[in-house]
């Protein structure tokens, strides 16, 4: 993974897993319901549709393979339980704020996520046109990145802001940390100028 994708991934929290699993769950529900409708409306045979939901044929088959069915059911239950729990804790987990591990060969240094966030935030708020700034460390400890949200006053030149941001704020952060690259995601919000507008 290159640096570019690290900063791009830091732009917003990823919802891919949650979205995919929710999508799959919905798909299973829709397809299952469709299968039930197909049987229920006699597409696979009038006789089939009139039989009981828990068909004696199926019950007999399960009874004939009792041990195998029980083992399969227990394994399926355990697998669902484990996967469900993993999914649950993954969904609940807050977004990481990794500390920055600086590899200075003789004495390794750890910069806490809040320290770097506060420093960059204070620095970014001094940039002309920026009314408010918020910074936080995101990603994992392997690929840490900085997410910087800037609220700009109306009429501010965006190019001017990030020229200053790069040559001053981020440069200073990189220099003080002693690193070559600091993947950064910048989110720009434009404030509405006339906040005291009477409606």
């Amino acid at each position: 993974m290159n640096q570019r994708s690290t900063s791009a991934r830091a732009l917003a929290r990823s919802y891919r897993t949650e979205r995919t699993l929710t999508f799959v769950f919905g798909l299973v529900a829709v397809l299952g319901a469709a299968a039930v409708f197909v049987v229920s409306f006699g597409v696979v045979g009038e006789y089939r549709a009139r039989r009981a939901l828990l068909d004696p044929l199926a019950v007999d088959w399960l009874g004939g393979h009792a041990t195998l069915s029980k083992i399969v059911a227990i394994v399926l239950g355990v697998v669902l339980f484990v996967l469900g729990l993993r999914w649950f804790f993954r969904s609940l987990r807050p977004e990481g704020r990794p500390d920055l591990e600086l590899d200075r060969s003789e004495n390794p240094v750890t910069v806490t996520s809040s320290a770097i966030a506060n420093a960059v935030q204070a620095d970014a708020e001094t940039v002309g046109g920026v009314s408010r700034a918020r910074a936080r460390a995101v990603g994992d400890s392997e690929h840490p990145a900085l997410r910087l949200t800037l609220w700009l006053r109306e009429g501010t030149d965006v190019r001017q802001v990030w020229a200053e941001l790069d040559t001053r704020v981020l440069l200073r952060a990189r220099e003080s940390l002693g690193i070559e690259v600091l993947p950064t995601a910048v989110r720009i919000e434009l404030e509405s100028g006339n906040k005291r507008r009477v409606l």
Partner: protein, 178 residues
Amino acid sequence: MRVFVRLLSTLLALAVAAGGLVLALEVGWAWWRPGDTPLLVPWPQWRDRLAEVGWDSYAVRLTAGIAAGAGVILLLMSLSARRRDVRLHDPVTEVSVTTSPRSLARLVGHQVRAQDNVTGASVTASAKKVRVRATSRLEEENQIRPRLLEAVSALLDEVPLLKRPKVSVVVDSPKDRR
């Protein structure tokens, strides 16, 4: 919507885990001590009930209908929970920049309102499309519309957007109604 999908995803995960646990426990219990009362859920009653209901019964169709509806809602929600941010060009290689659609709309709205003879404007923006609806008391639509289009285009040239959105301008003018 994105937060809601996370919440929903958490609940679904809990349901899957609970279902798996009950399945494994009940089957294991019934295997170990056949004939005993079930551990957590009264599945023998459920089994007897299911043996009475036919595939073509109303209850089965209703249940399938509810499941299909819930499934479609889940599909739509998971599809709509995408990012709506507007990407800008990366100024430097390790820096990525986005802005919110609302900010882009504000920027365009400010530009449009600064034009001559524009009484008011409302703007909606996404990464793909910017819609401007302006009102003018003094000029007709075919007079002012090209000017507004040009102004918005000039603005979008200045903002380093990754993909240039399409611009549509509609002007509402009382002069057109005469």
